[in-house]
Amino acid sequence: MAAPGAADAAIRLDGVTVAVAVDPEGAAGSGTKVLLDDVTVTLAERRIAVIGPNGSGKSTFLRLLNGLVRPTAGTVSVAGFDTARSVAEVRRRVGFVFTDPMAQLLMPTAAEDIELSLRRVGLERRARRARALALLEEWGLARIALSSVYDLSGGERQLVALISVLASGPSVVVADEPTTLLDLRNSVRLRAAFAGLEQQVIVATHDLEWALGFDRVLVIQDGRVAFDGAAADGVAWYRGSVGQGGVWERGEILRCAQDDRRRGQGDRGGEL
């Protein structure tokens, strides 16, 4: 592996498998369930979208990049730092935005949550406060600085979560379906915020229109990278694989349920 540093800025997954133990009498006879299976990719493009069905392994894939999930086999490195051995270095570089901002926001108010992120930067309290307020001002959110996070709209919460991540200066922002809980207006607002980021952005999303605007699309199905390429091709491939041709009849709904059950009883699938 190359020496860690800026010269090797890409994220690399090499033969990565993630498996979890399950009840031997449950879904998998082998006692393990494979969430990701032998994935090898290098992520160097500035904007990468990850799409795929529920339970396909998208979240597991993203969580590997921040060290929240460790590979059962293979290695994941960020700028040359192994995510299993150099977690602190990796998390300094890779910020993570969760689907539900309320799981992410740990402080009562927007400004205080951003201050919390700045604790690990080593700033003194007054400097943290000033920086947090300045960041909210930059994003046009100064008026909500002292608002309880419970009183913010979904879009405001997700923006605050994003700003909290950006506050510590990561070079990569990973986001797991950040628009899923948002209405159309807030979804468009958040997409615009992501579009303006100078960091490398890796986003899992079910919003195929959004995915079309990315430099590269990975389609993950059944724990494998089923497609890797240009956004338009990736989205078209995914649509084709789902059979999105019109309104499903009852027979197709039942077949879909059978497919899901088969995946659950097999040795892979399932989203963390």
Binding site: G95, F96, E112
Partner: protein, 226 residues
């Protein structure tokens, strides 16, 4: 989620700068007031002490310029909880320990009221700290307070954050319970308490997992990096 906001604000409150002299106290003084008001009440169990503590904490909250409703209000659920505990303690004291006849019943009632009052003192005194102090200041004070234990390998930063997260989880769990009750009521199952409690427990575990993930993802709580 919306219900949690109300619960969060009503239980321990959220800091808003109001420029009062109480707010200007050093956080250490506020912690001392919190202990100084609540501990004697719980140790002595005297109605006059509880009454005095209620008056003092209420006066301090109002002196902190917090609107009376935010400062002193308690939710119906909390009233029910306090009343239930007071009744239970009163019955235990009155019927099982003191014999439950004549004057003992009156003493049991006083005992129950004192217990309920003490819980209210604790809640109001806690609000005096949380509603007049920004959370980062509270966390810093906790971390500083246990700082000397670092030499023994104690994770002071993690401790400070853990206490804060624990406080944050209370309104979340209250909101969780309320939403589960509503969901049960919508299906006509509001009287089946067992499944509701189980569901709250499941959500609590999921919440703890999600909070842990969020802290880990942000690199928080690792000693030496804060």
């Amino acid at each position: 989620m919306s219900g949690r906001g109300t619960a969060a604000d009503r239980l321990l409150g959220t800091y808003r700068p109001l420029g009062s002299w109480v707010e200007a106290w050093p956080v250490g003084v506020k912690y001392l007031v919190l202990l100084g008001v609540t501990l004697p009440c719980f140790l002595a169990q005297r109605w006059w002490l509880t009454g005095a503590a209620l008056l003092v904490t209420a006066a301090l909250l109002l002196a902190a310029r917090i609107p009376a409703r935010r400062a002193l209000g308690v939710t119906g659920g909390l009233v029910a909880l306090i009343a239930g505990l007071a009744l239970y303690q009163g019955l235990i004291q009155g019927f099982w320990l003191d014999g439950a006849r004549g004057p003992a019943l009156g003493a049991a009632a006083v005992h129950g009221l004192v217990l309920g009052g003490n819980l209210l003192v604790a809640i109001w005194a806690a609000r005096l700290v949380t509603m007049t102090t920004p959370s980062p200041v509270l966390v810093d004070a906790l971390v500083r307070g246990v700082g000397p234990l670092r030499r023994l390998g104690f994770p002071a930063e993690r401790f400070g954050l853990a206490v804060h997260v624990m406080l944050r989880s209370i309104p979340y769990l209250m909101g969780s319970f309320a939403s589960i009750r509503q969901a049960a009521a919508a299906r006509g199952l509001e009287r089946r308490v067992g499944p509701q409690v189980a569901q709250v427990a499941v959500r609590a575990v999921a919440y703890a997992q999600a909070t842990g993930d969020a802290m880990a993802a942000r690199g928080l709580g690792d000693e030496g990096r804060a």
